[in-house]
Point group: C2
Chain length 343, copies 2
């Protein structure tokens, strides 16, 4: 492979080589009409925007390895931000892409990632409208880091937030837990199981929209990424001031993911997901939400897993897990680091 | 300094330590009401948004060193995106901050950067509404990289883009060139000049707004960052299909910056700026634009430096420089890399 097949410092110079990289790789790869204007900011114009309520989110992706079963860092970068925007009940419309490339990164790999970004954006129904590229010296990054920021429009009447959660509400998950985290760690450590565990990375905006159609009064959505379900539920408990109880036996987990967790000593509730959603709805709407989830292939393994309770303690709100043996344990947030650079 | 004074991998875990970092450093430092809701996406709501036309831009900052005369990476990160959003004629309103931190980075330095972000956002009049933090292992980044994305509202009637540039239009710069690039390289190389050259990093949204008030029909704005004035003018030439001629003697440059460029062998027209704007206006409006610039301290050294011409060639549009000696040279985009990680 010659040096021209790799990212060079000059690709980040602001000069001719940067222009060539942008024209030949990014514009070629995922250029939307807005991106192609070549101005420094994208001008977004649509009747949808006139609604006046937007969701805005950002996420940087530093996953290692960059390619893994079920996707690559490009798929993760689109899904992560699309899902964060969608958790506000919004329809994601526009994405920005900021790349930090390490000198020496193979252009073939970059093109592959760009291709995946384009395909995943198409799947999610979002346009890439603005971007930025920086190059750092060898040893000052790990191949490629990607930031995506996203804008979505919140339809009239939709009001979702962790602050709206109240005692009695039911907690659902949209599918099996732990797939992404275990796929990454398996790839990283060269572990092989009887079947290859694939990352679940997927854009969930259409799934959330399905739930909101069935249950417009849904309270909150959040994707249990870093820190897993434990972090998401503890955040919900803190935001709402309520306790949360989860039935361990009700939580869907693939047998091979459970086996891997047991073998590797991970707590499935703290393992990252990239294509799952935690959903909180009023009790009377739980079944309708579940039906809406089951009707979408991305929600086929959805389940009602727990309930919001009035705080039982004078201390901080508590998330607990009822085991199949009838005992109860506190479901704490991760202390320390489990799987660095999982996303 | 104990290990607790530094960024640890666990600060990026999604668990307890990440929550503490967010609460104690980011929320404490620049928490807006929207950031403090703790949801995954910020919900933006305002009458201004109902205009239905937004500017959206993103930029990652990897500057080395992170602290330099006139600012630090935090100031750069806010100014860079505020200025990009403002180049669309928009009023910047909301910023996201995505940080990639290297394990071992001093928390004191991080807090200093966060403080600068808060102050610069206040200066620009923007709110930080959403954020993300990743931590990578030692040797996989250089202390801190920051992505900012920004959203602004474009007032009714404002239409600016490089595509609107036409023969006869006048080119202005808002002040002296090269200050940022030379400040960084001096700091990096330990050079000292008779006076310390300071980075010009500044939010220019109010300056642009002043120009648009005086000249609502202004054609285009762009900040000559990486690649300097040469890149900006070549981009304008390509977007408009027009030639551009610049009078070298009319371009404002500080004597000490010129001396440093001569000594170090840099072409001042290719050196990065972070607090300057290139402005294109119809010929009859050039004086009004200049007066508006001069009335703002950030535009006190502004000058009319050139003119847009009908393309003289059948080949691609050309930017040229008229020297004080009457000769003319082509002002090309930078080839290769001059100053890696200037921003």
């Amino acid at each position: 492979m010659s040096h021209t097949d790799r990212v060079l410092l000059a690709h980040g110079s602001g000069g001719v080589m940067m222009k060539n990289l942008i024209d030949e790789v990014f514009y070629e790869g995922y250029g939307s009409d807005l991106l192609l204007t070549g101005d420094d900011a994208a001008v977004l114009q649509s009747d949808a925007l006139k609604e006046g309520r937007l969701a805005f989110s950002t996420d940087s992706f530093v996953v290692s390895p960059q390619f893994f079963p079920g996707g690559n860092i490009g798929r993760l970068a689109v899904c992560g931000t699309v899902n964060d925007v969608a958790t506000a009940g919004a329809t994601p419309l526009y994405l920005s892409i900021g790349m930090i490339l390490e000198e020496g990164f193979e252009l073939e790999s970059l093109k592959e990632i760009v291709k995946t970004i384009k395909e995943t954006a198409l799947e999610a129904g979002v346009s890439i409208v603005t971007g930025d590229t920086k190059v750092v010296e060898r040893g000052k990054a790990d191949k490629i880091y990607i930031n995506t920021s996203g804008i979505g429009v919140i339809p009239k009447g939709v009001e979702v937030s962790g602050h709206r959660i109240a005692p009695g509400d039911k907690i659902l998950v949209s599918g099996t837990l732990g797939d992404h985290g275990i796929a990454i760690i398996s790839q990283r450590e060269g572990l092989s199981f009887s079947t290859t565990i694939q990352s679940d990375a997927a854009p969930l905006n259409h799934l959330i929209s399905d739930v909101l159609k069935a249950v417009p009064q849904a309270k909150a959505f959040r994707d249990p990424t870093r820190g897993g379900l434990a972090s998401t539920l503890n955040e919900f408990a803190e935001q709402s001031g309520c306790d949360i109880v989860v039935e361990e036996a009700a939580v869907p987990v693939k047998a091979e993911v459970k086996a891997a967790c047991d073998m590797l000593g991970y707590d499935i509730f703290q393992v990252a997901n990239e294509g799952k959603m935690v959903i909180v709805v009023p009790p009377e709407d739980a079944k309708a939400a579940l039906s809406a989830l089951h009707a979408n292939p991305l929600g086929k393994d959805a389940a009602i897993i727990g309930e919001v309770k009035s705080p039982r303690k004078t201390e901080k709100p508590l998330v607990s897990l009822k085991t199949p043996f009838g005992s109860e344990r506190v479901l704490d947030m991760l202390v320390g680091e489990q799987l660095p650079r999982i996303c």
